[in-house]
Symmetry: D2
Subunit: 338 residues, 4 copies
């Protein structure tokens, strides 16, 4: 396959970014865009006169002149669209989360495997230079033993009409956790509340791993300030990744812990406010989605397994399900199958 011919389904918030990126990378070409709203399709036409527009997704999926479909529609439509695309032999890139349930995810990934098609979930953060750098530092052993992962992702968000804040925001953090730690937690429990409508708008997720490693994720649609901060604590060093920083997004602290055994030392220790140095490695300012789209094209053309494969997306949804279930039961622990 010389050039991957891509159709994009959904031209709302994220779709334009998919169209723009697939338009500009080598090895791909956007041939069609589908949306239900004429106003959006008119915008496509204005921007990309050479791209075909349509309101009929089914016809698009059946079109033999299309190799791959990028889906950026509400979550509730993912299963049908992805299945339809795979059925028609198309490779698929789909917005996170992969589907509404782990059951559905499993069916989709099995279908993709059976048809030898690429199924990739657009967990964009995995393709950021910052997360890649965190991974590189962690894998080098520089952090020592991992102690904890802590993420805060809050702002005055857009309420989704079909999913709560866990399903909307936590896929980012859960995908980063799975990517970094390379294993599933043994159990999950969560808390949350809804205030505006029946969908929960605030949630706190706890993930328990072996060896006392814990991960915590705070997602919030009702916060006055935007926070995007992840802390990865290790026995030797700790990383803070603050995505709101214009530069210096990733900082590595070589701070250690000093145990105080004698009371009279308490005063002296407290006045030392830094015990080691910090450094911030250079991070390339490439658009994550650009890297993700290039990765997708590479996987399609070379038959490689995506970093954020259907199986990866299925694991994320397993965690979302467990957290959601626990939240609705006031924190009852949910075992997670590996």
């Amino acid at each position: 396959m010389s050039t991957v011919r891509v159709a994009v389904v959904g031209y709302g918030y994220w779709g334009p970014n998919l169209v723009r990126n697939f338009s500009e990378i080598e090895g791909a070409r956007v041939v069609a865009v589908c949306d239900l709203w004429d106003e959006r399709l008119a915008l496509v036409q204005r921007r990309y006169p050479g791209v075909r527009i349509t309101r009929d997704a089914n016809k698009l999926l059946a079109d033999p002149a299309i190799d791959a479909v990028a889906i950026a529609t509400p979550v509730s439509s993912h299963f049908d669209l992805v299945r339809g695309a795979l059925d028609q032999g198309k490779h698929v890139l789909v917005e996170k989360p992969l589907a509404n349930s782990s059951e559905e995810c499993l069916r989709l990934l099995e279908l993709a495997q059976a048809r030898h098609l690429t199924l990739m979930v657009d967990h964009t953060f995995i393709y950021t230079s910052a997360v890649q750098k965190m991974k590189e530092i962690m894998d080098s052993g520089e952090l020592g033993d991992i102690y904890y992962f802590d993420s805060v992702r809050t702002n005055l968000g857009l309420f989704q009409t079909d999913v709560n804040v866990i399903w909307d925001l936590a896929p980012h953090d859960l995908s980063i956790i799975l990517f970094l730690l390379k294993r599933m937690p043994r159990a999950v429990f969560a808390n949350g509340a809804s205030h505006i409508n029946e969908l929960e708008d605030i949630a706190y997720l706890n993930l328990l791993f072996d060896d006392n490693v814990i991960a915590h994720v705070n997602v919030n649609w009702l916060a006055p300030v935007k926070i995007r901060r992840i802390v990865l604590g290790g026995s030797q060093k700790m990383i803070v990744y603050d995505d709101m920083e214009a530069s210096e997004k990733v900082k590595v602290y070589d701070k250690g812990v000093n145990l105080v055994s004698q009371p009279q030392d308490i005063y002296r220790m407290l006045v030392q406010y830094r015990m080691g140095s910090m450094y911030s490695p250079p991070i390339q300012n490439t658009e994550a989605l650009r890297s993700g789209c290039e990765h997708f094209v590479e996987c399609v053309t070379q038959g490689k397994e995506p970093l954020t494969s259907g199986e990866f997306g299925w694991r994320v949804v397993q965690l979302l399900e467990a957290a959601d279930r626990s939240m609705k039961q006031y924190g009852v622990l949910q075992e997670v199958g590996s």
Copy 2:
């Protein structure tokens, strides 16, 4: 009583602040300081030649020339020292938390009531201008209905030798929650882990109130950066209190929530990054402990009930107990008696 004669027990980290403040406020005088370490006592003598020093707390508590005792020793010693002081007819100001268990707290507060003595717990944050301002704004109704309280209190902390991170740091947040919301949660659950020794160094507390109000507290001794941030979310406005800010510690956001019912509006909303104004009221830069010590002297001399009375301190300890218990059971919900 013209001047309250104060003895300070414990001259470690916090004791010097107590001595300094009681030395300088009207209506009080520091007459004696007790510590187990000669080195610390020598320091007292150097700084305050007129103050008596001693290693014998019991003799101090029995001294008729002392009206009140301020206790800044490890938590495990609080019960015996406070009881001893009350038994001897002394008014007591004691470091938070009041004691190791709610059972002990109850005995102390009953003893104080029986003896008509002031028992005040030094929940310092209640006496900060920032928390007082939050309270004032909240009580004015400006925030609308309260939705949530979220606190993060992390840094590379000093490991206590006798209590875990919940008992060390969470008293601050729990006291602020009780002060602002004026009621106990109906239930608590928590997560945590220990990495350095057997004491938990990271914990996440969930407090469930009626009407979907939730509170969450993240305390962490193993964090590379110091964070002291509280968000109080309401239906009309939200407050962010960042204690690490040199000025503008309290910010009030009049951001609201816009529900999106039609998919085509999604794009337009997301690009509006602020929907209302923010203001930061002036905050007086007075030392909280100064206000606290003055409040204690006022309560002692006028027989008033402290804001952070023995009963208040007992409620905090009930919450600490519940959270600690839940944490050790991987988040099992703990009902809290009102």
Copy 3:
């Protein structure tokens, strides 16, 4: 004129933004793009298949099917291109600064006036919501008397090959000063130095107005961190505009000044760290260039005078010249003609 047919000359750093904006606004259409580099033209063709590309600017300027020309080329080429376009009866939008000298600027603006053509300089900051908000607040009288304007604009910048840091960065600040204060300073003096090649990479500009109003501009290509901060100080209130803030770009402080006449008050005053409140008005997150392009189209179609007219651009260049001349003479004061 129903739709303004725009040609864009120069598709380097800024040109793509011009093409994108003129492509999407009502009332305009990009019909051609000119650049000297085939690689850039190929990119245009990829993105905008319907737009004509060319390497020949002169032919473009002569094309009767073009109504307006947007010029985004190096400064040294501005004079010839703008003159050529005006000679051919085209309306012109040109990158800042308008030309290499005030003499050239004067000729261009006279030519535009004689031909009744719109000549607008793309001083983008004037079209930001933040600067518009500052203007609105200032004009309301809320700040009281204006005391000073202070701007810092630094980062590890791109060295221009044809102009120094004053000509590259200071047009932003000088245009904001002229827009806000609505008058020329009476004199200018400056300092600067070159370290990498013969072009000055750091400069400090002082502008003296009547009534003790002073303005200061610090521009720096060699700074490790990016700063974009303007302070506008008044007798009643002060504005801080920090363009690096993701939100809350504009803050209004109602701090005042307290004169200390008695020495013993010194201590008490110093410990008050805030004397009034601060507020941050909501700022629309629209792209400034979008507003600028719309303004240009409106001026062209309705014959209105642009906010950043040729005359405005000429005044900016007068100040650039004066500052540059002073800098090369170690700060000798330069009177500025009104």
Copy 4:
């Protein structure tokens, strides 16, 4: 001399810090405090019952039981008090600036030399861990050639009754410049303005050194936010010292400069926002004045020359004079004698 017996003259804003530090360090003892205000003396007595108080400075200076005098009074009184103390054979530590004029400074330092007495100016910043760390890094050659020094020191300040903002705040920056660069500039020019009374409240100082090194200092009493930031730019690395940061006060950037010779590269370079890493060395959190007082005691007892000697203080005042003179002449260049 076993213990240096210190008298402190002036118990306003800074005096209490001197008394506290000299009280606690080894090798010194505060024996007397002088102030003109009874209220302040009463406070001394309350805090330090063993310290003698007096309103009569002359008697104090003549007291044979005093070895050294620390002077924290308004600048206008420095000359008489320092001369009086030196005349009486006392070592002297005096607040910055040393005196009102370089002429007076010269007389004082010659008097100290003639009498073999320690004369030290309390340029506190030289004793901060941050400035010491900057010096260490600079002296190691890590920064390469020094390009520039840039300092901003602004806040809503306390108006002094006897000196303008240059004499009040710039001594900090000028002392740091002299300490780091180890040489005098060849010339100085400045700008400033007064708005509240006749004293200038805003000023911008330019210092010209050989080899194109420039230093710039912005001091401002009328700013709404407190800024304390110094940038030291070198050919290899650059340091940012932000004193308002709670931790990470000093950051070292290994950013370099990339010259762009070919226009088509412009776009690619601009999107790289960091080109090297940054690190922040650990800084000890010791009080600068503590180190300064210890240094003074060491100089007194061992006859060593202070880092901030009378001669050092004289150089600072030479620069203050030159800057002040230039400011009053709208920036006329002032040659500085080495």
